[in-house]
């Protein structure tokens, strides 16, 4: 199947996805999600320039697509609740696509209707001079405050729109929590490598947090750290000199929190 990426400027990720999904009017069994995903990523790569906000929007949709794709490629992994979660994601995406398609269609209708109305020019000559004096006082209900407020609104420098981060709920794992966790494992548990301490499938943020926690423990003298060679395993051993609670009290809080309030 050939596909070309038209250099349309897409209005956001949903717009792009809708375009890709509705464009492929071929046998649906022939169309793989992978193709859509690839086209999607290609189109994103071809975007002339994007701001951070729309870029994250694209990423969210792309990530959802990739997740759907990977679930398809790895049928064995498809546990029941994974499936449920995926279906939820898909339904959400689908609902948004339908909503967007609906408003787009409504907009097309508006456009036609407005074009039909554009031929009518309303009479706007206004009052004839001898009626003007009769007209009620335009300033009757206007105060200086209203005038000044209107001027301020109209003349205010338009601020470059600030990135709204309110929806970013990235309440990262806490270093203090990680200190306690590592202490629990090391105190009386014998030496352990950093890999072991992190375990499998830990997110990058969690690994960073654990590393910071380990450094805090080392700084306080609660653990000793050895590394035999560059990029080799870091092995930590509990010294028993300092109780973990003390380390926690003195530790700097690195919690990664992008101002996620509310949501």
């Amino acid at each position: 199947m050939t596909y070309e990426v038209r250099l349309d400027v897409f209005e956001g990720p949903i717009d792009l996805l809708l375009h890709l999904i509705t464009r492929q009017r071929v046998d649906i069994y022939e169309v793989s999600l992978a193709t859509i995903t690839e086209e999607y990523l290609a189109a994103v790569a071809a975007l002339p320039q994007t701001d951070l906000e729309s870029a994250t929007g694209f990423l969210v949709v792309a990530a959802t697509l990739l997740e759907l794709k990977s679930a398809r490629l790895l049928p064995a992994r498809r546990a029941a609740d994974d499936d449920g979660h995926l279906m939820e994601e898909r339904d959400l995406l689908l609902a948004r696509l339908v909503e967007c398609a609906t408003f787009r269609e409504a907009g097309t209708w508006l456009s036609g209707r407005m074009a039909a109305g554009a031929g009518f020019h309303g009479r706007s000559a206004g009052l004839e001079p001898h009626f003007v004096d009769l007209a009620p006082d335009l300033l009757a209900r206007t105060s200086l405050v209203r005038i000044a407020s209107a001027a301020a609104r109209a003349l205010a420098p338009r601020p470059a729109s600030l990135l709204d981060m309110s929806y970013v709920a990235l309440a990262g794992p806490s270093v203090k929590d990680a200190i306690l966790e590592l202490a629990g494992r090391l105190d009386g548990g014998g030496p352990a490598s950093f890999d072991e301490l992190c375990g499998r499938g830990t997110s990058r943020v969690a690994i960073v947090v654990r590393f910071l926690a380990l450094l805090e423990l080392f700084k306080a003298g609660a653990v000793d750290i050895t590394q035999t060679h560059s990029f080799g395993d870091i092995v930590a051993v509990w010294t028993g000199e300092i109780p973990a609670g003390e380390v926690v009290a003195g530790a700097e809080e690195y919690t990664i929190d992008l101002g996620a309030t509310g949501t």
């Binding site: 990720p13 859509i36 269609e105 209708w109 456009s111 309303g122 009479r123």
Partner: protein, 187 residues
């Protein structure tokens, strides 16, 4: 009697520079709104029948004289700065969202479209098609937007209730199914 009423209505329409509600004309003539509505409809029909250069249309809750669309080409030079610029697809989409979901805030519009739409909203406000309609109660009390009466007038709609139901614009079952199957992991 009715002839004189008709005459006054014509004069009022000539003075007006926005749609005039039939009730207002009724007050001036000391006549019922129903009577005025009947006269207005007769007048509109008469102008049509006489193939006049002006037409009488009802929109945005009132009646107003307009030039006949057929005269458009000749009128071009008289109509200064009439913005004929076509609206972009994005603008039309936002306009539709505001028409059907208003009063609505910028953030809610962005939610529906999945993309920041402030610039588009500003364009539409500048064109007088959407207008501020108070503030939402809630954190930051964002501005809410609705479509303007100028929008209704241009669309020839009496009110928002005259918009066709949104479901008329929904993609049909087949299209939705096609979308769904493309998003399904088992496609």
């Amino acid at each position: 009697m009715s002839g004189s009423d008709r005459k006054v209505i014509e004069a009022i329409l000539l003075l007006a520079d926005e749609p005039v509600p039939a009730t207002l004309i009724g007050e001036v003539l000391e006549t019922s709104t129903v009577t005025v509505e009947t006269l207005l409809k007769e007048l509109a029909a008469a102008f049509r029948a006489e193939d006049r250069g002006f037409v009488l249309r009802s929109a945005a809750g009132g009646w107003r004289l307009y030039t006949a669309p057929e005269c458009g080409p000749w009128l071009e030079r008289f109509v200064r700065n009439h913005s004929h610029a076509r609206l972009s697809g994005a603008a039309l989409e936002v306009l539709a969202i505001v028409a059907y979901r208003g009063p609505i805030s910028r953030a809610q519009i962005a939610d529906v479209r999945g993309v920041d739409s402030d610039g588009v909203v500003k364009t539409l406000a500048g064109r007088g098609l959407v207008t501020e309609a108070g503030y939402e109660t809630g954190p930051g009390s964002p501005v809410l937007f609705t479509v303007s009466s100028e929008f209704l007038e241009r669309m020839g709609l009496g009110s928002l209730a005259d918009l066709p139901p949104l479901k008329d614009f929904m993609p049909d079952a087949e299209a939705v199914e096609a979308m769904e199957s493309r998003l399904s992991p088992n496609a």
